[in-house]
Subunit: 158 residues, 2 copies
């Protein structure tokens, strides 16, 4: 069954990533028309990039492959349930669906606990553990870029 | 006042980004010890990368600059309230604080509405509008990468 084959590839990438010392135990593949078009692993520590989760790398590689910033008609297979950052990335990339093997609870058991990020997202910016503070908000200056965007004739919506 | 200067730089980057046709009206800077060490703008459409939001680019540039996957001692100034993907990235990068000018409501008014992502994150994976489906979950195979990680002597935690 193809779905199992694709998730097994994501798991294989996750395992080899640890053995090769590239980063955390996470892998992902992007599938289109029944074929893997891109792969990714977690390379946070080997590239000094905290955003380099497996899903983000796989999405970026797939978009490069397709010459598009959208993944319509694609499925993402991830070795583990995507974290909130990666879920956000998935919504911006808009694939048709996502499959994952390990759950966030399995991840927490291996010291990758992202439940606090889910909680933080529910709070107002100012009271998060990393405080997010308004500055110039409500001021005309703050929305000037949006006004320039609205009036821009050549904008590419995304 | 330095804080205002930094947020104004983020807003200036956002405005020039639109004028230069690089992407959406968003800019961000990372500050350490009172100095801007990295900048970023939204380059989603010009680089075919749906993850290339201003904050993500600024975080990646700052980490490259510091040779670290963590932003301890840094502040991020963003022209607009970060979206859930970027908030996730911020939690993984761990800066000391974030400042933003336009709010998510200003962004929605300019057709950048990320409120649906906040809502989606509250739902169980299976019932999201992009369905996220378990496959092999609960199976030993699904947690094999985590077991390899736990036993790995050379792992770099992050």
């Amino acid at each position: 069954m193809d779905k199992v084959k694709f998730i097994q590839r994501a798991l294989e990438l996750a395992a080899s990533n640890v053995k090769e010392g590239k980063g955390g135990p996470f892998g992902a593949v992007v599938v289109k028309d029944g074929k893997i078009i891109a792969e990714g692993t977690n390379i946070v520590t080997s590239t000094n990039d905290p955003t380099a989760h497996a899903e983000i790398i796989a999405i970026r590689n797939a978009c490069k492959q397709l010459g598009s910033f959208q993944l319509k008609g694609c499925q993402i297979y991830a070795s583990c349930e995507p974290c909130p950052m990666c879920i956000g990335a998935i919504y911006w990339a808009r694939p048709d669906g996502v499959y994952f093997a390990a759950t966030r609870y399995d991840a927490a058991d291996a010291s990758f606990d992202d439940s606090f990020i889910y909680e933080e997202l529910k709070h107002e910016p100012e009271v998060r553990t990393i405080p997010m503070t308004k500055l110039l908000s409500g001021n005309k200056e703050a929305i000037l870029p949006f006004n320039i965007w609205k009036q821009s004739p050549n904008k590419i919506k995304y």
